[in-house]
């Protein structure tokens, strides 16, 4: 975070918690780098949710406190996580075989831009940038049953990250179905976004002013 006023609405953990509330019982969920990793700390109640990490960890739990880590065990973000009872380890090709063959019910990723048509961009910081970070994002975006995003609603300079069409090179096209930001929960609806829920203290007008595409109730 920059030194400016704290972002409006939900905190990072609250965004993760709210999105995690959408996970169904029995789902296999892949969590990407950044805010999405916080979903494995969320309380999923009675629902049985198995967290998959692209590096072949199937069935992990919360990040472990300092001193309790196992340095052989990391999630996609390199955080030292715990294993839940029933966890399994597979190699990288098998981990992505699980992804491509449709075993992943939902993938949760960060993004620089999310578009109203369901495109999103999260691997290159500028269209002309040399190099980037694709990681597992393109495999997951192309093959997971649901593609969810968690991102700050605006850039540090206040520019909208929810836009009509992506300006940055996309990770996949027309795949995103649900987006959590600090402003609330949004669904791509073609030319604009449908507001599923607003974070406490935020008005629809405030959300409209910070969004690069029309918002509808």
């Amino acid at each position: 975070m920059s030194g400016d006023a704290a972002p409006k609405g939900w905190s990072r953990q609250q965004m993760a918690d709210r999105l995690a509330a959408e996970f169904g019982d029995g789902w296999i969920v892949n969590l990407g780098v950044g805010i999405p990793t916080l979903c494995s700390n969320a309380d999923t109640g009675d629902r049985d949710v198995v967290f998959h990490s692209e590096n072949g960890v199937v069935g992990y739990g919360p990040v472990l406190p300092e001193g309790q880590e196992d340095l052989h065990l990391v999630n996609a973000g390199g955080q030292n996580v715990s294993l839940r009872p029933g966890a399994a380890i597979v190699h990288h090709a098998d981990s992505f075989a699980l992804i491509r063959s449709g075993r992943i019910d939902a993938t949760v990723m960060g993004a620089y831009e999310a578009a109203a048509n369901g495109d999103f961009a999260n691997w290159k910081v500028a269209a002309n940038a040399k190099g980037g970070g694709i990681g597992g994002a393109m495999d997951l975006a192309a093959c997971a049953r649901c593609v969810f995003l968690i991102l700050e609603h605006t850039t540090r300079r206040g520019a909208p990250r929810l836009v009509r069409r992506c300006a940055l090179p996309v990770t996949a096209r027309r795949v995103v179905t649900l987006i959590a930001t600090n402003y609330g929960l949004f669904e791509p609806a073609g030319e604009g976004f449908r507001v599923k829920e607003l974070a406490p203290g935020l008005t629809l007008d405030e959300a409209r002013a910070a969004t690069g595409a029309p918002l509808t109730d």
Partner: protein, 245 residues
């Protein structure tokens, strides 16, 4: 009696790697990364290398030997990776300077495609189709084919000359076991390589002491083994601290 594949040390483990070799390096965010072999390769000095790995190195501190250091040391012609930039856009890797200046070539590959290209190379499969990357820059100029109403990209196998791995346990004939998230790319890189060099964390077991049902990488694929000495002589994964910002 089976012959032990244990070599005298890291210098011997990387001896004879020629200029122009293609080398795959195991590891993901620390676990399974052959830090000691990379350090030995920095000293060995082979040049004009093609390096295949998940990343060129992360932004976390303390920095461990990584592909970026081989680049900075003038040893690398090309990298094949799923990350050539840090995951956090505000972190700029030293590698970026070399890429910008055109001093190293980079082939950026989706991570699952990278793993499968290695698996294919190690399985006698020359190419395969995947839906990953369709509609993106990765697909530009690529051969595609429609299967069951969905577009797919043709991807070629990625054979390598050498694989550098890190395993938890080995027996003297080279059967390997990895521990937890250490497994990652290591088994498929072992399959894809003609010569496999593994650094091993625990004391080598005699042949026959490892349960055959629990072997992750069979010893017939492995050529050289070297034991990682205790720190500080040997390099071990450290707790990852956030880069000071």
């Amino acid at each position: 009696m089976p012959k032990s594949k244990l070599v005298s040390g890291f210098a011997e483990a990387v001896a004879g790697i020629p200029d122009g070799a293609t080398i795959a390096f195991g590891g993901f965010a620390g676990p399974g990364t052959p830090f000691n072999l990379i350090r030995a390769l920095l000293a060995q000095g082979a040049r004009n290398l093609t390096c295949v790995s998940n990343t060129t190195g992360g932004a976390h501190q303390p920095r461990m030997p990584d592909i970026g250091m081989l680049v900075e040391n003038g040893q690398v012609r090309k990298v094949v990776c799923s990350f050539t930039a840090a995951t956090r856009p505000t972190d700029v890797l030293p590698f970026a300077r070399f890429l910008e200046a055109g001093q190293v070539e980079a082939e950026l590959v989706p991570q699952g495609t990278l793993a499968e290209r290695l698996r294919a190379a190690g399985s006698g499969i020359p190419a395969f189709y995947t839906p990953t990357g369709v509609g993106t820059e990765v697909a530009e100029g690529r051969e595609t084919r429609n299967f069951d109403g969905r577009e797919h990209l043709l991807e070629r196998a990625l054979p390598v000359d050498f694989a550098f791995l890190r395993a938890h346990q080995a027996d003297e004939v080279g059967n390997l076991r990895y521990r937890l998230a250490q497994r990652n790319f290591n088994p498929v890189m072992a399959m894809a390589a003609r010569t496999v060099v593994a650094e091993v964390e625990e004391e080598l077991l005699p042949a026959g002491a490892m349960d055959p049902d629990s072997v992750h990488t069979p010893g017939i694929l492995v050529h050289r083994l070297v034991r990682v000495p205790p720190a500080p002589e040997g390099l071990w994964p450290a707790r990852r601290a956030e880069r000071a910002r």
